[in-house]
Amino acid sequence: MILVWKLLRQHISVPQFAGFFLANLLGMLIVLLSLQFYCDVAPAFTQGDGFIKSEYLVVSKRISMVGAFNGRSSSFSQADIREIREQKFCKSVGAFTASQYEVSASMGVEGMGYMSTDMFFESVPDRFVDADTENWHFEPGDPVVPIILPRNYLAIYNFGFAQSRSLPKLSEGVVGMVDLNVRLRGGGREEMLKGRVVGFSNRLNTILVPEGFMDWSNRAFAPGADTAPTRLIVEVDNPTDDGIARFLQEKGYETEDDKLDAGRTTYFLKIVSGVVMSVGLLISVLSFYILMLSVYLLVQKNTAKLENLLLIGYSPWRVGLPYQVLTVGMNLLVFLLAVGFLVLLRGYYLDMLLLMFPQMEVEGIWPSCILGILLCLGVSVLNVYAIHAKVMAIWRHKG
């Protein structure tokens, strides 16, 4: 084998192969990097919310200047709800129920002073909330109310309030461990309860409590008050269905959800990544072309040697093997180097991303590794086949 290699390496053009190597490395790196970047960044926009599934949209009526002055109600009537329920895209509808009494919450942590604020609660039917039923449960008489807060609140506290008052920053875990003192007052009654934050949501801009708690508290503190909902939660088949957007537009409803924005951003990201990946693929294809040309040229220049080897009893596979090993080896090396560079470059942008989206979960580089392996494998199989075909052409004197 060593002798065969010694013979067949004649006429190998180092510049040609170096050219292929660099071009292929660049192409592969661009392809892998664009995929990896997409995989890394997309979740920052589309990250599912632990508590509200992505098929749920939160719908409210648009609050217009005119409406604000002429007192037109921004709440949904039963007829409105029925109409939405009858839409094709709608699987089910739930109403947001707001607390009809006074709520104030206070939090006292030793050494941090005492903070108190007026606030409100809202609830949606429990089937729309994707939390542990054990945590997300309230029976009249329970001393603790589970609460889901908007993640923004924590950000506002950490980056606005705590920063300016030199208070310690709180992580989600710490907040979950602190009990809030919740005071409910209305209808001539007053009661103190403990509140526990069981989670944070990106998609619900409200302070959410279990349905059971809301039913009980509204009955107890504001009997007979009007509870027409101002926001609805709608389960749909497919949130990207443009029929939904049309219907909402027509009725003057809006979704307070950033889902659509995120959808647009993801779409844009997809396009950009797709374009970049196509460029990478194009470079890869061209580099493959260079390699095939180089190998063909090499085989052409060594035709006499290959033919002699065949005539003294070497099989076509054995004669082609050195070139196959050479190209497959280069493909492998390119793949490994590309992954190495990918990890290096990813390190740079990941730091930046994590600064921008601290709650982002970082996944591994498997998607791009798998793509890289597939590319490498595909190209190698083509190389091996093309070289064998070329040797067979020499066998048949058509080389």
């Binding site: 002798l3 013979l7 002699n308 005539l311 003294i312």
Partner: protein, 214 residues
């Protein structure tokens, strides 16, 4: 393999000629294992074509060529590879050596396929043929006569049932030709092989059992 038969075989380029006077073309001829044949030919009578057909390099002939009764047109690539490796050895007229390799490497590249001959035996042959000092010289720098001897050693470094020597001594003096003939026959006898020598005039003096005029 015991028998090579040619049945009405004729190179396609001769197909339109009507003056073919030959002991081989357009006849029934059989070469058998263990025998020594001489094929004498003038230029342009298809001597190299005959070798090319038998080694499976070309198939531009009419008629049938059979190995042990099997038409060689039905041979697959792997059949030919096996035949060239273990049954048929050809000393090419144009030698087909690799000028980039040394004389020894040229032999080794063949011998490595089967590991048939020990290095010592090969060195012995180099010595006997008077090129022992050229073993590690690049073949490209050797004279044609020297290359012819290297090619013969290579042809002997494999198991074979038939050895085709296409003008083996065209560039050798009588003394070297004689030594080469002895070595060739010694190896062929050891293997019980048939030998077909071609020549366009000058040929090794051997006890040919049958001579064909091509």
């Amino acid at each position: 393999m015991d028998k090579i038969e040619l049945k009405n075989t004729l190179p396609e380029v001769f197909a339109l000629r009507d003056d073919i006077q030959s002991d081989i073309w357009h006849r029934e001829v059989a070469f058998e294992r263990g025998h020594l044949y001489l094929v004498e030919a003038g230029s342009g009578t298809g001597k190299s074509s005959l070798c090319s057909y038998i080694i499976g390099y070309r198939d531009d002939y009419q008629g049938i060529i059979c190995f042990d009764g099997k038409n060689i047109r039905s041979n697959k690539v792997k059949d030919w590879v096996e035949l060239r490796k273990r049954s048929l050895s050809l000393l090419f007229q144009e030698l087909r050596l690799f000028p980039e390799l040394t004389a020894y490497e040229n032999v080794a590249i063949k011998n490595n396929l089967t590991g048939f001959k020990k290095r010592r035996k090969i060195e012995e042959w180099f010595g006997a043929l008077g090129i022992g000092d050229k073993m590690h010289e690049k073949v490209g720098r050797m004279s044609f006569g020297q290359q012819q001897r290297v090619a013969m050693i290579r042809a002997l470094s494999q198991p074979f049932d038939f050895l085709l020597a296409d003008e083996p001594v065209s560039h050798l003096d009588d003394e070297n030709g004689k030594v080469m003939g002895e070595i060739m026959m010694e190896e062929a006898r050891a293997q019980g092989a048939g030998v077909i020598v071609t020549s366009i005039g000058k040929h090794i003096a051997l006890d040919y059992e049958k001579t064909f005029r091509l």
